[in-house]
């Protein structure tokens, strides 16, 4: 129950902060006052869309508390004889708790991958913004081109490549491709240009700091809001990346949670008892994402806002 409560409050908090942000932004611009009619209209549209996005989540929450029998025989949007704890216990004990392993794997892939991707993107973006060297724009444009290539299109060539060096079906197979974030490089460059003054770098050089030390002690702090944004984007996209694990991984112990749940779901026809586990598993797998968002949202919002103002 605690978990569901938490997910619940998490949702409402996201919405309230969103609304507050919208209102204060409106007040700040000091534009003409909108008529009550158009305001009501806008509220209705927003309300409808909020419902549209929240109902599936609500359904998932309700469905996770039901037994397999109740799932089809009771009101899909309301509780019946909750047995959430039993479902969760069942999920965590099924096949020696492989689900927990998946969850930890996801945290590892997304957490470590996200941090490494952010550091690399920061260094790369910083270098592109602050140093002058031949081919700088060419490199930047190439990286920018990388933003346009979907990860799905790269999965198969990566598989053939990793097969050659015998790294398929290892943690590396998912981690290595995840530490590359062209969009992060782009964002880091834009932000470094705007927020790290050349004078500061000069000053730290005069104080005797090397380039690397300057970067890690001075510049990276100034770039922090942008880096949190990069981390969040990368964290979410690794967490949701499904095609790469599908192609690379064969051992159950290495699966991230998205792929593991997909594998279970694909055999529901023959093994219907997996349905409850897929539902509860999906609900629980959203929680780390929500937690990360809430913990980082303060930095993240300033990051986006600063980028937008420049």
């Amino acid at each position: 129950m605690t978990v569901s409560d938490y997910a619940d409050t998490a949702d409402t908090r996201v919405i309230t902060t969103g609304r507050r942000a919208g209102r204060s932004a409106g007040a700040a611009t000091g534009g003409p006052r909108e008529s009550i009619l158009s305001r009501t209209g806008a509220m209705i549209v927003m309300g409808v869309f909020t419902l549209y996005f929240l109902i599936p989540l609500w359904w998932l929450l309700v469905a996770s508390t039901k037994s397999r029998g109740q799932l089809f025989s009771t009101n899909p949007l309301w509780f019946a004889d909750p047995q959430f704890i039993e479902n969760v216990t069942g999920l965590f004990s099924y096949r020696n708790g492989v689900y927990l392993k998946w969850l930890l794997n996801s945290v590892l892939y997304a957490g470590v991958g996200g941090v490494l991707a952010t550091v690399i993107a920061a260094m790369c973006g910083y270098a592109l913004a602050k140093y002058r060297f031949p081919g700088r724009e060419a490199i930047f444009n190439t990286v920018l081109g990388g933003v346009l290539v979907p990860a799905t299109a790269l999965a198969l060539p990566l598989f053939l490549l990793f097969s050659r060096i015998e790294l398929t079906n290892t943690y590396w197979a998912v981690l290595l491709p995840s530490i590359v974030s062209p969009f992060g490089v782009y964002l880091a460059r834009v932000f470094a240009e705007a927020s790290v003054p050349d004078e500061l770098i000069e000053a730290s050089r005069l104080d005797g700091a090397g380039e690397i030390r300057t970067f890690f002690t001075v510049s990276i702090r100034l770039m922090m809001p942008a880096l949190v944004t990069v981390f969040l984007f990368q964290f979410v996209s690794i967490w949701n990346n499904f095609f790469l694990p599908l192609i690379m991984l064969r051992s159950e112990e290495l699966f991230p949670v998205t792929f593991g749940l997909y594998a279970w779901n694909s055999t529901i026809n023959q093994f219907p008892e997996l349905r409850t586990f897929v539902l509860v598993g999906s609900l629980l797998s959203v929680i780390p994402l929500i937690v990360t968002f809430l913990l980082l949202q303060r930095y993240w919002r300033t990051g986006l806002g600063t980028g937008a103002l420049k």
Binding site: R68, L160, L246, E252
Partner: protein, 443 residues
Amino acid sequence: MQHMRRAVTVALLTAGALVIAGCSASGGGDGGSSAGACEPAGEDVKLTFTSWIPGIEDAVAIWNEANPDIQVEVQTGPSGNAGTYQNFFNQLEAGNAPDLGQIEYDALPNFRVQDGLENLAACEDVVKAKDQFVDWTWSQATLGTDDEVYGIPQDSGPMALFYRSDLFEQNGIAVPTTWDEYKAAAEKIRALGGYITNFSQTDINQFAGFVWQAGGQWFANDGDEWKVELTSDESEKVADYWQDLIENDLVSTYPAWTDEWNNAYNSGEVWTWNSAVWGANSISSGAPDTSGKWSVAPGPQWEAGQSAAGNWGGSSIAVFKGTDHLYEAAKFALWLNTSDEALTSLNKTAAIYPATKAGLDLPALQQGVEFYGGQKIYEVFAEAASEVDPDFVWGPTMTQTYADVSDGFKAAVSGSGTLADALGKAQDSTVAALEAQSIPVAK
């Protein structure tokens, strides 16, 4: 989830096309290993085996315990069409395919055409095992040839009629034994507000099972050329029959395996299901409120007095091209699918319905099932298993054929076009797909 599956299919097809393109460009590389040798390695061997069946590890653990010199490591993933088949093709291309893999009968020809499988006929024990298997499952593995074996049959899906015995009895409706009676019963049931069954636009395998039962088949292969017969007389007869039921609103048309579908069965709105033996679990878990009210009867026939059964599903264990241990792999695959201990374990953990004749006599399959009012339902399926036409052949492009038929069926169910139109279109696109892959097609 349907969208998800669709998206994955499309992505995988694209990926597959890339692999095939890459394959022909690189000239096949070192894929042409010498076939034929089936001899023991004479040293300790480690085999990898990919399957998506939950609990298959238990059976493999029994083997590993008893065979320290041939250790098998289980790898897993989503079900075949949901990604694992494409992974197999990728791995074959990359030269790191597992030694053994789970392959459903309808996908075997595809792997055969792409030259991804070892011919197990090189192994004496495999050839000798032929008589242990239900005839039609063995010919699924030989693809209709005499001297080739591309997998060891694991399970089968003989079809019969699940029906609500309580409702039929209460309303004085006789359980239909022919398709004509089935339609007559459908009209009576409709008058009572129910539906006799659900026609699923997505379960093309079920429809193929109906065609199989009617004596038709969708593909034929004379060794050189493929013949595509989606529009054969039998196939059209089955399509017209169901088209008639759909047009007269005598069947419901929920997409299968969805909540509405489960609910339709659970609430008593739908009274029967023509399904395979594994469907027994689907009903008991999808419609738990109806426990004790179901029975199983032989499927309706086209002519009174006939006894023909269709089949829906079933898979085999195949050995992939490039394995260094053909002998050991074949030995393990035979053990997994013929030994009592393995079959018992597979039946217990994954409700696998064995493909061997002896397997049908497993003690677990002789007992009455509570959900079916204590009826010994597996006797009906064992009978059906012996009535499945052994000559049915699958084509080498089933993923694409299923997708095409399914698209057409969805349109037909919502009122545009007919099931027969859908088969006609799928016929054309299947021929085109075969030709695009340079697979010879008989006109």
